[in-house]
């Protein structure tokens, strides 16, 4: 990965569901599949636990990218959680895109417990994307009062 602006180190928050994606991240770790240290993982029981407010909060606090990972559709540990999460995130991302926040800063990937490689690949490509977008100024600037 080429990091052009070395001084910029993005803050990236990854929400991972406990049953698939967090385990996938563990597998990436035990398989020593590296991805940049800019990614920090928060464990949630299910992708449906991720409140859009958490994502907005992360951006507001200076995150440059937020990614959510869950079980593949149909494989949710709680049967249907990721279906609701999928709709919520689609609408949220669409709204962020609508107000001019670069779409590349948000992503959803379905990563199973067996997909350590996919987890690492996903994080690598996401971080690369965030580097190419640079610092997130917009969501920090979008305030109601000047």
């Amino acid at each position: 990965m080429s990091i052009e602006n070395k001084s910029f180190r993005p803050k990236i928050v990854a929400f991972c569901c406990n049953w698939c994606s967090y385990a996938g991240a563990d597998l990436a770790g035990s398989s020593r599949l590296s991805y940049p240290a800019d990614v920090k993982i928060i464990r949630v029981p299910c992708s449906c636990r991720v409140n859009p407010m958490f994502i907005l909060r992360a951006f507001e606090k200076g995150a440059d990218g937020v990614i959510m990972c869950g079980c593949h559709p149909g494989d949710c540990h709680y049967s249907t959680g990721n279906f609701y999460a999928r709709r919520r995130m689609t609408l949220l991302f669409s709204m962020l895109d609508y107000i001019g926040v670069e779409n590349g800063r948000t992503r959803v990937e379905w990563v199973s417990a067996a997909e350590g490689v996919k987890f690492s690949d996903t994080m690598n490509s996401f971080v690369e994307k965030i580097y190419s977008l640079g610092e997130n100024v917009r969501l920090g600037d979008l305030r109601c009062r000047n």
Partner: protein, 662 residues
């Protein structure tokens, strides 16, 4: 304010080689609420756990952060350690600085920085933790086995012998599974039926085992210890209580054109049939698609010849609802479809067969009564070619990326048996690698080569071309002699890749058990919990978890049984206290949360509340914590933020977000 202790584990050099652990401990002391921090070689060791206990006592800690391996590994260990020292176990949080940090980063400075941030997030969370009390739930002392092959039978027998009730649900009309289709077994060359049928009989005769054949699991609800399962008993059209198994109906049935599933479609069976002679139960089924009575309304011969009056054309599917404490998946495998491998001419020639079909050809009860003959013209073959790895070890989308594991051994078995019985038949095996780890396995393969003169050629076959004279031209290469080979064969046998039974994905979804991209069920831990699904109360037996041979399957079946018995032996289970709860003063009673709850754990009650002096009756959401599994779907659906999840509360997660973005 909490009094938090932070414990940083070196994990030998696993963490300490890339993370400056003392620095992490040092930084921890600057975090709000942290009154104690230390690092140690192995926190999970007895000495490490003692350090935690000592600190709890000496520093009067109210919260613990352990910076170590994944919480999926040792969260339970540290929670138990804290509990023994008198702290509520849910006051412990783990910062994963191994799998998510030291193992994936190389630069020490960078990894240390990240570890500090992960530690901060965990500290921020613990600051908001509250002591939680697990509830209790009951255990239904009965197990369900899905699949009646050797894996399912063995698991059922082991559980039943321990004194618990077991139900087996089998999709086909008889238990027995793939093993019943095999002729001989490697490496001892035992007759498969001779060792399997006694087990089938034992299972059917066992007072604790109930067998539902020709049945499928239709719906599963509930959770560990208390599953509720709907089983669809498909209409057999034969009364199981009346049938004596005399077999006259099958003889007299005029419709004999349905391909026999048991013989892999190599010959036909009657519309009313038992799959094979030793079937259990020995009660036939009417295949309504093939039956003349069902198709035209006329016939009814079976009913006329049945002296027991067991034929019942009116029989309907029946749904049985039963409760189980544990469920074992033993759904087995099938061979892959060969449509994408046209180069081997499987669809073009009857003399190109799969190894499983060869099992039926070699079997005395098979379509050729055990005579090795070409299925096209019935002639005895002189040249036989075996092709290994057909669809296995493929990284393209035609086959499977994994090794099917059993093919090397059964091919050696086939080659040996053929050479033994028909010494004038030449047998050539084209292989990529011969993989024979296992007790007496390599010796077995060497016997095929040395004693029986089986010709092994290293090199995959490129194509099989059916010739006008009925022969099959096999074009391969001999990589060791560096020559291309054109060989005329009479029969070609494909060691076809195996894949999990295609129905398993549906079943996994019902059970909410994880499954991988190849449709193998995922185990809870690849090494340490190989027979458990990550979903509590679900256990894995046999090939549904990964390719394996009969001895391995039986071993795993026993292991799965032990795990299930361990669960059934408990009277009560502790339930996860990380459940949703609703703040009565914030709840609108709008029913939004109820709509997304997969467990029906949310109901509404009219309750009187005192909202800062205003007393009124309100419609409020109430969570049944025994049913709630803690997914959190409701917490996000709730517009007012009244619904929150214990252990993963809004404020806790936001505190983690803030700590990471700080």
């Amino acid at each position: 304010m909490q009094r938090i202790g932070v414990f940083v584990c070196h994990c030998g050099s696993n963490i300490a080689a890339t993370v400056d652990v003392s620095k992490v401990a040092e930084m921890a002391l600057m975090e709000p609420g942290v009154v104690h921090a230390e690092d140690y070689q192995y926190m999970c060791s007895e000495a490490g756990q003692a350090k935690i206990a000592d600190a709890i006592h000496e520093k009067k800690l109210t919260g613990i952060v352990v910076c170590s391996c994944s919480p999926r590994m040792h969260e339970a260990t540290f929670r138990k350690a804290a509990e023994r020292a008198g702290l509520n176990p849910y006051m412990v949080e783990i910062a994963n600085i191994r799998e998510h940090c030291s193992w994936i980063h190389k630069d020490m400075e960078e990894a240390t920085k990240k570890a500090v941030i992960l530690m901060r997030a965990a500290v921020a969370k613990v600051n908001l933790n509250t002591p939680l009390q697990p509830g209790e739930s009951r255990v239904t002392k009965r197990a369900l086995i899905i699949g009646g092959g050797i894996a399912g039978i063995q698991t059922a027998l082991d559980i039943a012998d321990a004194g618990y009730e077991v139900d087996i649900v089998e999709k086909t009309p008889s238990i027995g599974g793939r093993m019943s289709q095999l002729d001989k077994t490697f490496p001892t060359l035992d007759c498969s039926a001779c060792i399997l049928t006694p087990k089938m009989v034992e299972a059917s005769a066992h007072e604790k085992i109930k067998i539902y054949t020709y049945s499928e699991v239709e719906n599963v609800s509930g959770f560990v210890g208390d599953f509720t399962v709907d089983i669809r008993k498909k209409a057999r059209s034969v009364d199981m209580d009346k049938c004596t198994g005399c077999g006259v109906c099958q003889e007299k049935c005029p419709s004999k054109k349905a391909p026999s599933e048991f013989n892999r479609g190599l010959n036909n069976r009657s519309a009313i049939y038992t799959p094979f002679a030793q079937a259990i139960p020995n009660v036939p089924v009417i295949d309504r698609e093939a039956c003349i009575k069902f198709k035209t309304g006329k016939c009814g011969i079976c009913s006329k010849v049945c002296q027991a009056g067991a034929i019942d054309y009116e029989q309907k599917d029946e749904i049985i609802t039963e409760k189980y404490g544990a469920i074992v998946v033993a759904t087995g495998f099938d061979t892959i479809n060969l449509d994408k491998y046209d180069e081997y001419a499987y669809s073009q020639s009857k003399d190109v067969i799969t190894s499983l079909e060869l099992e039926r050809v070699m079997n005395a009860a098979g379509p050729t009564h055990g005579h090795l003959e070409r299925l096209s013209d019935g002639k005895a073959p002189k040249e036989m070619v075996f092709i290994q790895c057909v669809g296995s070890r493929c990284s393209d989308d035609r086959g499977k990326p994994y090794c099917s594991k059993i093919c090397c051994m059964y091919t050696a078995k086939h080659a040996m048996l053929i050479r033994d019985k028909y010494p004038d038949v030449n047998v050539t095996v084209f292989y990529i690698d011969v993989r024979t780890p296992g007790k007496n396995f390599d010796e077995f393969y060497r016997r095929a080569v040395e004693q029986y003169g089986v010709n092994y050629i290293k090199g995959q076959v490129g194509k099989v071309i059916p010739q006008p004279n009925g022969k099959l031209l096999v074009q391969g290469s001999d990589l060791l002699d560096n020559r291309q080979i054109l060989k005329e064969a009479d029969m070609v046998v494909l060691a076809t890749a195996i894949e999990p039974n295609p129905d398993v994905r549906k079943i996994a979804t019902m059970l909410t058990a994880s499954i991988d991209t190849n449709n193998f069920l995922t185990e809870a831990h690849a090494k340490l919990r190989p027979v458990e699904s990550p979903t509590a109360g679900i256990f894995l037996s046999g090939v549904c978890q990964g390719p394996k041979d009969i001895p391995e399957t039986v071993a795993q079946a026993g292991a799965a049984a032990v795990k299930a018995i361990g669960l059934l032996a408990k009277d009560k289970l502790m339930t996860n206290p990380c459940t949703a709860h609703s703040d009565e003063l914030l709840c609108n009673g709008c029913s939004t949360c109820e709509n997304v709850c997969p467990y029906g754990a949310i109901t509404y009650e009219d309750k009187e509340v005192n909202d800062h002096g205003i007393r009124e009756v309100r419609r409020l959401a109430v969570v049944n914590s025994a049913l709630c599994q803690g997914c959190g779907a409701c917490t996000v659906a709730c517009p007012s933020g009244a619904m929150d999840l214990q252990g993963f509360s809004n404020r806790q997660i936001i505190a983690e977000v803030d700590a990471i973005c700080r």
